[in-house]
Symmetry: C2
Subunit: 234 residues, 2 copies
Amino acid sequence: MIQMYDLAAADPAVRFSPYCWRTRMALAHKGLDVETVAWRFTERDAIAFSGQGRVPVIRDGDTVVFDSWAIARYLEARYPDRPSLFGGSKGEAHARFINSWADGVLNPGLIRMVLGDVFAVIAEKDREYFRTSREARFGAPVDQVQAGREQTVVGFRQSLTPVRTTLEAQRFLGGDEPSYADYIVFGGFMWVRAVSNFELLDASDPIAAWRERMLDLHSALGRNAPRAQQASGA
Amino acid sequence: MIQMYDLAAADPAVRFSPYCWRTRMALAHKGLDVETVAWRFTERDAIAFSGQGRVPVIRDGDTVVFDSWAIARYLEARYPDRPSLFGGSKGEAHARFINSWADGVLNPGLIRMVLGDVFAVIAEKDREYFRTSREARFGAPVDQVQAGREQTVVGFRQSLTPVRTTLEAQRFLGGDEPSYADYIVFGGFMWVRAVSNFELLDASDPIAAWRERMLDLHSALGRNAPRAQQASGA
């Protein structure tokens, strides 16, 4: 069985990395069983075998792969008879643009709205690392970056225009069926869902309807994923 | 031979529509001969046969198709044995995201930097229509929208991050070879090239190197395209 190191909150059942969620969904798309290992930011020793310090990392037999994009390519090449993630070389090349957009626009936009919510749920031992690194990146106290999000969400929604326009024309970013492109973008929404009850989307947004379809995929893997107490309102 | 209605400047040899350039490049990719017909904004009667008032419009035998995306899909379906534009259904679905990004981010960013240059080269009979419609859209005199572009270009370059990151990893947006995704983005650069000598890109930008490769494709179709005098500095 494939083993996957997966970023976890203080509650080890809560998994919130947008990049790990790309990989979880890709594994499910391929119909591959996976054993996830809860991992915290500061547990670099635990994944030192991968030669670097970030997740997702997968171990498939003797093969170790890190980086969500590299993992998706590995799975597509290693399991070509399972449902395709990319639909060929042009599909993969075009998906890389969507990956670049998500890394450069979507995820930076998202984190500004939930950074404090993330900070509130991570493991105690991760807090100092997280605070120091994020305060350096954002130039503000970690619990204040998301202040005013009821206003900044307006611009964030505007930045989603390429997703919205695409989903007005087709059911999934992959067309009639989901592809890795959908998992790239969905990962960002799972990140927020895991840690926050802040609503990113207007209920009438076509992206909100797509998100519901995505939550139901692969035996409702996303919908059934545990959320932090503050996220679920429990 | 396929006939294509193509937006022209006062000089009928200067063709500057980013959407028409998508179609020109797609036709060349398919190796299809084309006869272009110079068309001006106000010549709606000339394309009334298409049932709408904008270019590109193509006529292929008895078939009339308008809208650059619809034309690309038509060409792919009608000429399946020619080089593929999309590489299958997922490649097409993912390309639609890139199309949406270009329509919603790239092209709106570009026009703010060259609106006055466009206005300066269009046909006399188009000027009143263009001025009125663009001043309504931009809320400013048509020759002042591009003011300060030496500063606004910095933010524009930042908006190209998804293209840049992708081209750092692969030769074309389509992968090793160009696909319709490349033509979508390249159309915007041909728009600017036709009408302006304003330099959009830093010389060291990977997108600049890609643009050179694109200009050379299909017997240097882009590089050999006539530019307005003010653009070429002639």
